[in-house]
Subunit: 446 residues, 2 copies
C-alpha cells in the first residue's frame, strides 16, 4: 500500500454555480453522481434522484451505499421504485431485495412485471458468497446455426438491456452452454459465417455453488471480462462479470486482513460501524485468548522457585515470548496469503516445513546474537546463555506453529486465516514459557 489518495471526478460542492451542476448531472459517471447525492440531506437526495433521466437514475441508484439504497427504497413511491428497480442490473436489484424485510419484498415484487419478479426470486435464492449469489442474468445468447450477420443484428436489438455484450454465449436447444464468442470476432468474420465455425467451443465455466473467491481467481487467471455460470445439467444460468468478481475478492481480502488480527467478519464500512458492532466483532477472540494465556501463567507459577532465585530471568520474558510470536506471525501471514492467492497449495506443506526450519534456525541464531550481550549486561554469562539458547528454540517453535496452523485449519475445512497472529502468539507463549524456565532450571542447576 502506498500513501492514500483517492482520485475522484470533480463533484460540485454545495456552493457550485447552477450551470456547473447541470453540466455535472448530464455528463458525470453514475459512481460520481451517487457520491454527489450521498452528500445531500435525505429529502433533497430523493428529489434530485427522481430528476435524473431514467437509465441514469437506475445506474446512479445502484452505485449508492447499500444502507442509503435501502433507506431510499423505503421512502420512494411504489411506482417510482418499480421504475428504477426494473432498469437496474439483475444482480444489483437482487442484492437490494435481500436487504429488505419480507413485507417490503412483497410490496416491491407486486409493483414489478412477472419477468422481473421471477428473476429477482431466482437470483436472491442462492447461498451467499457463491457464483450464484454474485452472477447476473443480463447476458446475450446466440444459437450455433446463426450467421455472424444475424448475430450482430440480434445483439443490436438486445444490447441496451445487457450488462456486457462483448462476449455472447452460444446455447444448444436445451440451453446448454456449447460455446462463446467475442464481439470483435463477430465483426471481423465474414457476414455469412456460421457461429459454430468461429466460436470458442470449450469455454471455461463455473458451477452455481462454486465459491466466489474461486470464481474471481478464474477470471484473473484467464484475463476474462466475465465467466458463465452453469447448473448441474450444464445449462447457462448467469454470468459473473469481472467487476463484481473484483468487488467480491476485495471483500474476501478485507475479511482475511481482519481475521488475521482476530476481528470477526463484518460487512459494513469500518467508518460507519457502530461501537456495539465493533465491540462484538473484536471481543470474542480477545476474551478467548485470555484463557489461552492462562496456561502460560500456570507454567510460570510452576517455576516460581526459579524466578525467585534469578529474578533477572523475568526481564527477558516479554522479549522472548514476543520474538516467538512475531516469527510465528510472519510465517502464518506468508502462508495465509499464499494459500489465498493460490501461490501455495496443500501438498507444498512438506517441502515448506524443512525450509522453514532452516530459515527459523538462521533467524533465531541472529536474534540470539543480538540479545546475548544484553543478557551478559543484565544477568551475567549464565543468564546470557539461557536467554540466547531459548531465543533460538522459541523462534523455531513459533515459526513452525505459524507455518503449519494455516495448513491444518485448511485440512479440516476451516479458514486458514483463522491462524491469526494473536492465536499463534498465544500458542507460542505457552511453549516459550515452558522452554525458557526449563532451560533456566537445568542450566542454573536449580
Amino acid at each position: 500500500m502506498t500513501k492514500n489518495k483517492l482520485n475522484q471526478g470533480a463533484i460540485p460542492g454545495v456552493d457550485a454555480a447552477p450551470d456547473d451542476v447541470r453540466d455535472f448531472i448530464e455528463t458525470a459517471y453514475p459512481a460520481d453522481l451517487a457520491a454527489w447525492l450521498e452528500e445531500m440531506p435525505h429529502e433533497q437526495m430523493h428529489e434530485q434522484l427522481l430528476a435524473l433521466p431514467l437509465p441514469r437514475r437506475a445506474e446512479t441508484f445502484s452505485h449508492l451505499e447499500m444502507d442509503v439504497e435501502v433507506e431510499l427504497a423505503r421512502q420512494l413511491e411504489r411506482s417510482d421504485l418499480a421504475e428504477i428497480v426494473t432498469r437496474m442490473h439483475a444482480d444489483d436489484r437482487a442484492d437490494l431485495f435481500n436487504e429488505l424485510t419480507p413485507q417490503e419484498q412483497q410490496l416491491l415484487l407486486r409493483g414489478l412485471a412477472q419477468e422481473e419478479r421471477d428473476d429477482i426470486r431466482r437470483l436472491s435464492a442462492y447461498a451467499e458468497e457463491t457464483a450464484g449469489a454474485i452472477m447476473t442474468s443480463d447476458y446475450a445468447t446466440l444459437a450455433a446455426d446463426m450467421t455472424a450477420h444475424e448475430a450482430i443484428e440480434l445483439l443490436r436489438r438486445v444490447a441496451p438491456e445487457k450488462e456486457t455484450i462483448y462476449r455472447s454465449y452460444v446455447l444448444d436447444p436445451d440451453r446448454c452452454l456449447i460455446g462463446s464468442i467475442q464481439l470483435h470476432k463477430l465483426i471481423l468474420a465474414a457476414p455469412d459465417m456460421r457461429i459454430d465455425a468461429i466460436m470458442n467451443a470449450a469455454p471455461v465455466s463455473v458451477a452455481l455453488d462454486d465459491d466466489q473467491e474461486d470464481v474471481a481467481r478464474m477470471i484473473a487467471h484467464y484475463d476474462l471480462l466475465a465467466v458463465p455460470v452453469v447448473d448441474a445439467d450444464g445449462r447457462l444460468v448467469g454470468i459473473v462479470t469481472h467487476d463484481d468478481a473484483a468487488d467480491a475478492m476485495q471483500a474476501e481480502t478485507t475479511e482475511d486482513f481482519h481475521k488475521l488480527a482476530t476481528v470477526s467478519p463484518f460487512s459494513q464500512s469500518v467508518l460507519k460501524a457502530s461501537i456495539g458492532v465493533l465491540y462484538k466483532k473484536r471481543v470474542f477472540w480477545l476474551s478467548l485468548l485470555v484463557f489461552g494465556n492462562l496456561f502460560s501463567g500456570a507454567g510460570i507459577a510452576y517455576f516460581e522457585e526459579t524466578i525467585l532465585a534469578y529474578v533477572s530471568l523475568v526481564f527477558f520474558l516479554p522479549l522472548l515470548i514476543d520474538s516467538s510470536g512475531n516469527a510465528g506471525s510472519q510465517s502464518a501471514t506468508l502462508m495465509v496469503r499464499a494459500l489465498a492467492t493460490g501461490d501455495v497449495v496443500m501438498k507444498d506443506w512438506r517441502d515448506l516445513i524443512l525450509r522453514e526450519l532452516l530459515i527459523a534456525l538462521a533467524l533465531g541464531a541472529t536474534m540470539a546474537l543480538v540479545v546475548f550481550p544484553l543478557g551478559l549486561m543484565r544477568g551475567g554469562p549464565e543468564i546470557a546463555f539461557v536467554v540466547g539458547l531459548t531465543m533460538v528454540l522459541v523462534v523455531m517453535v513459533g515459526s513452525l506453529v505459524g507455518l503449519s496452523l494455516p495448513f491444518l485449519l485448511n485440512k479440516f475445512g476451516l479458514d486458514p486465516a483463522t491462524a491469526s497472529g494473536p492465536l499463534v502468539t498465544t500458542i507460542s507463549d505457552v511453549v516459550g514459557v515452558l522452554v525458557y524456565f526449563s532451560i533456566a532450571t537445568t542450566v542454573l542447576s536449580l
Copy 2:
C-alpha cells in the same frame, strides 16, 4: 478466505494420449498452455513452445512465470525470440525487457523493427508501480470527425493488434484525449453519425506518474475495462487495462499482508523464494524489535523489588502484554485495510479516536471481568484488582496506539502498513509493563 481450491482447466499429464494433447494444444487457453509447459523439462518446453502457431505462441509465452520467461528468452534463437516479442502485448514485453541484463536488452532490441524498439524503450522507462509502468500502447484511437461507419471499418483493420477495442479513444490533431466511445455504441449508432456527437466527452484519465493502486481503485470505482493515461499536456500515451490493474492491486495487497507481519516486500512466489531471500526479508524487523523489547526489560528491572515481594504478578505478565498487543493489532489492521480500500481517509482520524476509546473501554472491561476470578484464585483480591485495572488500561493504550500509528505514518508520507502487529505489540508492551507494575506498587503499598 475460504477453503483453498484453484479450479483450473484440464491440463494433460505426462501419460496423456497424443490425441488429447493435440486437442489441448489447439483449444486450450494460453494460461493453461503456459501451466502445461511449466511442468516440462526445459528442452521439451522450448520445443513445444516453438511448435505452437505464432499468435498463440506469443500469448502463451506471456503467461509463463517471469523467471521461466527470462530463462527461455536467453535460450531461444534471436530470430525466434524476436518473432515472439514482436507479437507480445506492449506491456508484457516491456516487463520482460526490464528483467534482462543490459547486454541481453541490446541483443533483443537489435532483432526488432524500429517501431517495437521505440515502444519498448518508452514503456520500460517509467518508474515502477506507476500508471506508466503498467500501461500498454495497444489501444485504438479515432478522430472526432469520423462517422460511426468509418470508425467501425478502421477498428476492423486494426483490431487484431489491439489489446482492447471495446473502448476507443478519440484524439484531437495534437493527440490530446478529447473523448472515448464504446464499441457497442458505434454498432448501435446510425452509420453516418459523427463520433463527437456520440462519444463520452469527459472521460476519466490518469497521469503517467499516478500510483498503480490509485489507478486500480479508479477502475474499480467506475467499473471500467481500461483507463487512459495522459501526459502533462493531456496527450494520450497509453491505457491501463482492468486485468493488469487487478494484478497490480493483488501484488500491493500481498505487500500489505506481509508488512503487517513485519515481512519486507519481495516479488517472488513464496514457494520459490530461497532460504536466503526469506531470511533477509524477515530478519530486519525481528532484530529491530529485540531492541524495542529491551525497554520493557528495563521497566521490569526497575520494579525488581515489587516482583520479589509479589511473584504472582509475573504469572499475569504474558497475559496483560499480549492482550494489549492483540487489541492494538486489531485496531491497526482495521485502519490499515480501511486506508488501503479508501474506506477511511486522513480527516476521519479525529472522529475515530473517540469511538475507539469507548470500544476499548468496553473491551478492556470485559477482559477484566474474565481475568478477575483467575486473579483471585492465583493471587488474592489485591492482585485480582491490580490485574483487572491494568487490563482495562493496557487494552485502551494498545487500541489507541494501533488506531493512531497508521494515520501518523501516512501523515509523514510512510506506508500505513508499517504499523504491523509486532510493532504495535512492542510499543504496547513497554507501556503495559510500566502501567502494570506502577499500579501494583501503588495498590500493594510497596
